[in-house]
């Protein structure tokens, strides 16, 4: 309490200083409290009727507003969740006391993402979901990304404790290049690694004003990439949200000791915002998460050449390749060793030939994820911004978000994202009618390493695979020796492994750590490190001509420019010769017009050009039909597209078992595909030899129709939202495997296994179709009880049989939330229980494919408010029943997380 008191002192001092800066004639001060609970209400808009003056209440509910008008004046007091209130002020001698009355806010929220112009969510022409700060406050989630998962039609792939990737309408996965995440207008994608890092480098929970989520094709407004949706996270403006806030969240996970002993979870976040004058405000935000991560514990046997799970274990399959076991990707047919022995010892020849009818594939002994992955996940975020109002309507913002941390990502292998750093810095000028923004994303992969490649190379560093004294030679000799003693095939393999593995470094010993730490710092292919330092520079602007063109239509135009600068010193991209630049630019125009009082039509178009690809125009047309005052039907035809990601263009990663390469034409020369052609691996396996040519890739596009209805029913207690969509992809981007002769000689069928394998990006020629629907119901009961139910279905059809679409989305999923934001004495208690179910589906990932069983989770929280000290106590659980689940083959197995938090000034 003493601490809080000192904060109060600092704050009041700051208020006094603020007053000194005022220079206007009349000043009204006041205080706003909740009429039910008596607690002060912060961030309430206080404006003067008929004048531009306006302000927000501070964290104690106090406001001061100055103007040049004569008394009496009318103050308009408004905030989401409260009834609009008008207060007439006749004199300034006494502070104005406002009893602010809570009101049902269902369907009253304002969104900007759907058209880049503020509008009521009920009138959005496309499907949009919104999460307010209040919703996050009462959500049963330790991390606000989990709240996103409760929205209709949203899937979140959880790679680890802090790595969560949302998507809508398909294509779940750790790295999702079809779904944009924007933080304060900045694309949050790590430009080199191609995944959005909002969960680890972005806003902290306290600084979120709102999250808007556009489902489906949305790139007509937000540029390439938003094929499946765009999530816009908007931070709290320090002019509006002031004061010091913090949350100290302490928790525990691994309570059942299944993966590791129970371990603490810490999540501390802090935000301090200060309005120093009516012109200048700033904020500082920071967050620290520290915990023991979830790990991947899928030890099933994977048949990598056919990309399916199979029966077997280390004990029963000599060629075992466990999903979350690394290093065992290296294998060899030990018949090479045996036939060598037969040459030396001809009397064993017949015996050896009798056991050599089929390949004897043996894999190196691997290490499990649990053994090699440092479980400490640390995430530190630091952000801040300076806001200066050049005029009352024009604000200049200088903002930066920087973060560092350790987490785990699932790509072609599991990646330990270690000491990863990313900074996003922007300068923005905005006005009611226009906006100019420039930002850069500076990425540094730190000591990030690939578990598979690192462990494979670790094994080589300890004992090389090939050679007369190599691991496979030792294994083959020991195997034969055991067979010659009558051991069964399996026992001989077990004995052989024991002999070849003599002296194998034990996890945790100095011998292990010395080698492992050396190898993981070496870039692939000798180690497993990614030295990615890719940067993105972007500038954009838009102008709303509505004030001029109002009589005819509301017109909005905008343009942007992006430059990627790939830098990995040849460890991730084909950039050994120096950084690779990629330029993209685009422009859009949008016009909307109220055709009648019941019909509004909006048309927009966007043109984008990437230096490596043909330009592309994407149109969008939407209509909103007003059925009643509070219900609308929406219709839209949207197109979206994406250029191949930076990795799809330029990646050049030797994963030991195969090479992952990009689609840029430069690779033709790098790997001599003109003189030593590559063949489709599938075709080679079947004995056909189909040459893979390397045409320039085309951007992937989707055209989508959507119809929806959103309306308030039953005296505005029920909000119903339904939608259905149908879309068609063209030039669908995926990957395929090709094989090339290692010697440069003519290709043979055996090269499908023993040749150089490449994974190359391709455009599918078939028209892949997608369709789905969603329905959501929110009902507000009396006494603040509410229930939300939603369900959605997403489908992909006409996928060619040999095509890996990685749609990775359940056919059906549903959420149910039962909550109360205030009940009991003085409505201090709150709770929420959220249940989620998703159907089983077949998962296709770069790491592994396999069936994902249905998943059910229950999250819950109870909270208690202490209004006087502005404290919010919360006891919560994510995955309350500790029912481990995973939502990607090879991803971490997620159990229960139980936490208790103390929040101060959480608004």
């Amino acid at each position: 309490m003493r601490k809080i008191a000192s904060y109060m002192l600092a704050l009041s001092l700051a208020n006094i200083l603020t007053i000194a800066v005022f220079a206007q004639s009349t000043t009204i001060s006041g205080n706003i409290v909740n009429s039910v609970t008596g607690e002060s209400v912060s961030a309430v808009s206080v404006t003067l009727r008929g004048a531009p003056a306006g302000t927000f209440t501070d964290d104690r509910g106090n406001f001061k507003i100055s103007f040049n008008q004569k008394l009496p004046v009318t103050l308009l007091i408004s905030s989401i969740g409260y009834a609009l209130q008008e207060v007439v002020v006749n004199n300034t001698s006494q502070p104005v006391k406002v009893q602010f009355v809570p009101a049902n806010s269902l369907g009253q929220e304002v969104i900007v993402s759907a058209t880049r112009v503020a509008q009521k969510i009920l009138e959005s022409p496309v499907s949009v979901e919104r999460i307010s700060a209040a919703a996050i406050r009462n959500a049963p989630a330790a991390n606000f990304y989990d709240v996103v998962a409760t929205l209709k039609g949203v899937d979140v792939t959880t790679s680890s404790l802090t790595f969560k990737t949302p998507t809508t309408r398909g294509f779940g996965g750790s790295g999702n290049a079809r779904f944009n995440q924007l933080v304060d207008g900045m694309d949050n994608q790590a430009p080199g690694l191609n995944f959005s890092v909002g969960a680890i480098i972005g806003l902290n929970e306290l600084d979120i004003d709102n999250i808007e989520l556009l489902s489906g094709a949305s790139s007509a407004l937000y540029g390439p990439g938003g094929m499946n949706g765009t999530m816009l996270m908007t931070s709290k403006n320090p002019f509006k949200y002031q004061g010091l806030s913090f949350i100290v969240k302490t928790g525990i996970n691994h309570t059942d000791g299944k993966e590791r002993p129970a371990s603490p979870y810490y999540n501390w976040s802090l935000r301090w915002a200060k309005k120093l004058s009516e012109k200048f405000a700033f904020k500082i935000t920071t967050e620290l998460i520290q915990a023991k991560d979830w790990i991947g514990t899928d030890y099933r046997d994977y048949d990598r050449s056919n990309a399916v799970l199979k029966a077997g274990s280390r004990a029963t399959d000599p060629g075992y390749d466990g999903v979350n076991v690394y290093g065992d990707e290296t294998f060899a047919d030990i018949r090479q060793v045996l036939s060598g022995i037969a040459l030396q010892a001809p009397f064993l020849g017949p015996f050896i030939s009798s056991i050599s009818a089929n390949p004897i594939n043996v894999s190196r002994t691997g290490y499990t994820e649990q053994q090699i992955l440092n479980p400490n996940t640390v995430n530190f975020k630091l952000g801040g911004s300076l806001h200066y109002k050049i005029t009352p309507g024009t604000e200049a913002i200088l903002a930066g978000y920087w973060g560092t941390g350790n987490t785990v990502y699932t790509g072609a292998s599991r990646y330990s994202i270690k000491d990863f750093k990313m900074g996003q810095y922007k300068f923005e000028l905005n006005n009611k009618n226009w906006l100019v923004r420039a930002f850069t994303t500076q990425e540094n992969a730190g000591e990030t390493f690939n578990l598979g490649a690192t462990t494979q190379n670790f094994n080589e560093a300890w004992k090389p695979s090939p050679g007369a004294t190599g691991w496979f030679s030792q294994y083959g000799q020991a195997y034969l020796s055991s067979r010659l003693s009558g051991a069964s095939d399996l026992d001989a393999h077990t004995a052989a492994r024991a002999i070849a593995d003599v002296g194998r470094p034990v996890v945790g010993t100095a011998a292990f750590n010395d080698i492992y730490n050396r190898i993981r710092r070496l870039p692939v292919p000798k180690g497993g490190a990614l030295l990615d330092r890719t940067d993105l520079y972007s500038a954009e602007g838009n102008y709303n001509f509505s004030s001029v063109t109002k009589s005819f239509a509301d017109i909005l135009v905008g343009a942007n420019f992006r430059r990627y600068l790939l830098s990995s010193q040849g460890t991730l991209f084909a950039d050994t010769a120096g950084k690779i630049g990629i330029n993209e630019y685009g422009a859009f125009i949008q016009a909307s017009r109220d055709i009648s009082s019941h019909l509004k039509i909006t048309a927009s178009g966007r043109y984008d050009k990437n230096q490596n690809f043909k330009g592309r125009f994407t149109p969008r047309i939407t209509a909103v039909i007003k059925v009643t005052e509070n219900s609308n039907i929406r219709l839209s035809y949207q197109t979206a597209y994406r250029f191949p990601s930076t990795q799809m263009q330029w990646i050049n990663l030797d994963l030991v078992s195969y090479k992952l390469i990009g689609g840029n034409k430069a690779f033709k020369d790098i790997y001599h595909f003109n003189t030593n052609p590559a063949y489709y691996r599938d075709s080679l396996k079947n004995g056909n030899k189909v040459v893979k040519d390397f045409p320039t890739l085309n951007p992937e596009a989707i055209s989508s129709f959507e119809v929806g209805y959103k309306g308030l029913l039953m005296e505005t207690r029920l909000l119903l939202d339904v939608y259905g969509y149908y879309g068609q992809y063209t030039n669908f981007l995926a990957r395929t495997e090709v094989a090339q002769s290692k010697t440069g000689g003519p290709i043979t069928q055996a090269d499908a296994i023993t040749g150089q394998i490449y994974s190359v990006p391709i455009n599918s020629t078939s028209k892949v179709k997608t369709y789905g629907f969603g329905i959501g119901i929110d009902y507000r009961f009396p006494l603040n009880f509410s229930i939300s139910l939603n369900g959605a279905s997403d489908n992909l059809t006409d996928v060619p049989s040999n095509f890996i679409a990685s749609f990775n989305t359940p056919k059906y999923k549903a959420n149910a939330t039962f909550a109360n934001t205030g009940f009991g004495k003085a409505k201090r208690l709150g709770f929420a229980v959220a249940y989620r179910w998703q159907d089983a589906f077949y998962f296709q990932g770069d790491l592994a494919n396999g069936n994902l069983p249905a998943v059910q989770t229950v999250d819950a929280q109870v909270s208690y408010k202490l209004p006087r000290s502005k404290t919010l106590l919360k006891l919560g659980a994510n995955n309350l029943l500790n029912q481990y689940y995973y939502n990607g083959v090879g991803n971490s197995n997620i159990g229960g997380l139980y936490y208790f938090s103390v929040g101060y000034n959480v608004y």
């Binding site: 525990i252 810490y266 199979k310 020849g349 009558g486």
Partner: protein, 428 residues
Amino acid sequence: MIHLIKKFKIAGLLALSALVFYTSSCNKDLEQFTEPVISNAGTLTLTEAIAADPDNSLYNALLAKSGMAPLFSDKASLFTMFVPVNSGMKLFINVISGGLVDINSPDAVFTGFISANIPAATAAALISYNTIPQKVTSGQVPTIFPNYEYPTILNPTGTSTTAGFNPFARLTTFPSRRGTTLWVDNIPVTAIDIPVVNGVIHKIAVLVAPPTKYLWDDIAASTDLTYLKAAIIRADSGVAVAGRIQTALSSFGANLTVLAPTDLAFKQTLTGAITQALIPVVTAQLIAFGLTPAAAAAQAPAVAFAQASALASSPGVFTNPALFSALTAQTVRGIVVYHVLSAQTAPFFPPGVRIFSVNIPATPTTVKTLLNSSPLAALHPGLSVQATGTGITVKGAANATPSNIIFPADRNALNGVLHKVDQVLLPL
């Protein structure tokens, strides 16, 4: 850190704990795949099956003595064992005891002999040599001529703790099949395919004793193969050690069938050949002495024969400088290698073949020799072998008549088998 956990627990985890640890299996665990169960035929292990069969009681005593019973009780292992019936064990013991143990003695006498007179190591070697480390049913024994080479579990270099131990050194055994009739080396199999959990048993008529010496040692020690020994040494003269025939005959890795002409055969052949070479010389000498050409021609064969007989009367014939021009090292080498059989159809290892007498078919069959491994003689027709019903004949390309394999044949050695023959085989 700990105090925070404690604090947290106190704060209310207790209230939740009932739910937390309530685990109604809601989310499925990883989908697992069932592995196929391998079922072995038979219910008894090798050890049990041998013990259970009264006709194997003497072999069972040998097994007990060897201390190897636990190995053959291991259900995970796989073996093929050639198990001699009691009559075969008796014959074996009768032989190795030098006739001291009468073949008609009661079983107890034989078991007593095994227990008292056969050292454990010897017993283990005997058992090991009759054991193949994989399951080979009768149907799996190829019918190819002459037989198929299988390693036994007998490692002649000792155990892994012995100096010079080579884990891959194995004495091999040579099962063969004609129709449903099986042999191992030259011993008939009397009952086939008795299933056991860890392999299969074939009963055999007599215990197959492991060889103990190399072909060269056998040749060198045989009093009736002294000419062959001398011929080999002559053939190897001027040849580096690695390329010598003697080296091959003394090497563990080799697998050879040697048709060994006896001293008598060499004498006959050499006498004849030298006589023929001497007749013109003697005839000229007699004419020089004053005989008429007709008289000289009439007397010369007898004189030449007498001289030739004297020259060929000892193995020294191969080292007699007077005959160097007639019996050049190359000529002798050509003759010697023509007596060593070779297979031409080996899958991927150097040619080698071990033909037991039982492997030789009733129809004349061509067998290549090491002579064929010379590029100059690659197309040489080789030898023709045949089981005639009364014996086995081998005919060289230039021999007027077939020679006979002298019984007892099948002198098995570490690196091959040797059959004595009554003629020197002539390639041309």
